[in-house]
């Protein structure tokens, strides 16, 4: 009788261990859903900071050029206004310079917009690529990007991997 009871107990223990292993394995293999604060990831990504510096220096060069042309135009305009007789040739030349200035200004604005778009696309492409690699490595089912406009209204803070993800993408960007 005692032997039978012991046997039943042993089977019970074995079943409990087996169930625990199955549950443990299931939990270990379960793919997790995490999220990052997209704006923070973007702003703290080293690539963004570098390209922003590039963009600012290019924009500054263009602005300096336009400022100097504008100043020259203002001085010429002032001289024309102050002088009593101005030849048609000087006026035509002045108008042409003004037209050239506005054309160049518009060109620079378009180039700035296009460069900013190109840089933004490059940065997001890179973030997506690194997210893909990191997500696969960590076996995540999804990495959601939270923005102010996103449709996710609540997310548990425990699933927030923003800080860790920023560290990973900056490290990957350095080739590590």
């Amino acid at each position: 009788m005692e032997k039978k009871a012991l046997g039943v107990k042993l089977i019970l223990v074995q079943v409990i261990i087996l169930v625990s292993i199955i549950i443990g394995y299931e939990m270990l293999m379960r793919k997790k859903t995490v999220y990052v604060d997209s704006a923070r990831v973007f702003n703290e990504f080293r690539m963004k900071k570098e390209l922003e510096n590039n963009f600012n220096s290019i924009q500054m060069e263009r602005k300096n050029y336009l400022d100097s042309v504008e100043l020259r135009l203002k001085l010429t305009g002032q001289r024309i206004n102050e002088s009593k007789t101005v030849s048609d040739g000087i006026l035509a030349d002045f108008d042409m310079q003004k037209e050239e200035f506005f054309k160049r200004k518009q060109e620079f604005e378009e180039m700035d917009n296009s460069l900013m778009k190109r840089y933004n696309d490059q940065i997001w492409d890179r973030i997506h690529q690194y997210a893909k690699e990191y997500g696969a490595h960590k076996r995540y089912a999804y990495i959601f990007g939270l923005t102010e406009a996103s449709s996710i209204l609540y997310a548990n803070e425990g699933e927030d991997i923003t800080q860790e993800f920023i560290k990973v993408i900056n490290s990957k960007y350095e080739g590590r």
């Binding site: 690539m47 570098e50 390209l51 190109r118 840089y119 696309d121 490059q122 940065i123 492409d125 890179r126 690529q129 690699e133 960007y173 350095e174 080739g175 590590r176």
Partner: protein, 208 residues
């Protein structure tokens, strides 16, 4: 402890230290074939890969010894130590690497991938044959080591990747190295490859 035993103990400790030092110095000696295999093995840290956008970039650090050995192997000259040393002298002073850029789209050609005009195709050829050294460099500690020589191999769509052989300035630092390719034509942005100090110090010596 007897005073007579002290010299013996000192000798034993010294011998043990020398053996330990030699054992831990990291640079093992391998045959010529093993050396080539070691350098080509990505697990040893001299080969780095990255996928960005539609392109796959890889960089392989090539020690001067590798270059010399490859040259001798290609010319089918028996690489004895004196011959090897004389060839190696030609490679000293620079450090070498090979960068491969591949198109991920099947049948893709790096020079043609995502281009919108024929002019863009020629612009890429011009870039890779002449301008690219300006955009590839090594960051080692506080130094930037410029690309001193390069050779771009065209594959005429036979292969899905293009190869650029590179030679960089060298310095005596034993720091980690970050090889930077600041792309200007593919639209990927900057790509970095990290070659660790450990990987460099683990490069084996060639046995003759």
């Amino acid at each position: 402890m007897k005073a007579d035993n002290i010299p013996l103990i000192l000798i034993a400790v010294l011998s043990l230290s020398i053996i330990t030092f030699l054992g831990c110095s990291g640079q093992k000696r391998v045959s010529q074939e093993e050396y080539i295999t070691w350098v080509n093995n990505a697990e040893n840290g001299l080969v780095q890969e990255q996928v960005v956008g539609d392109y796959k970039f890889s960089f392989q650090y090539l020690p001067a010894e590798y270059m010399a050995l490859k040259e001798l192997m290609a010319s089918e000259i028996m690489p004895t130590k004196p011959v090897f040393d004389s060839v190696l002298n030609n490679y000293r002073g620079l450090q070498y690497g090979v960068m491969k850029i591949g198109a991920l789209i099947e049948g893709g050609d790096v020079l043609k991938q995502s281009i919108t005009s024929e002019a863009e195709y020629f612009e890429r050829i011009q870039y890779y044959t002449t301008i690219v050294p300006r955009d590839i460099f090594i960051v080692k500690g506080n130094d930037t080591l410029n690309c001193a020589m390069h050779h771009f191999e065209r594959t005429f769509s036979i292969s899905s990747f293009n190869t650029i052989m590179l030679g960089f300035e060298n310095n005596s630092d034993s720091n980690d190295q970050i090889v930077v390719y600041d792309d200007q034509v593919l639209g990927t942005g900057k790509i970095s490859f990290f070659i660790s100090r450990e990987a460099l110090s683990n490069i084996p010596l060639i046995e003759f």
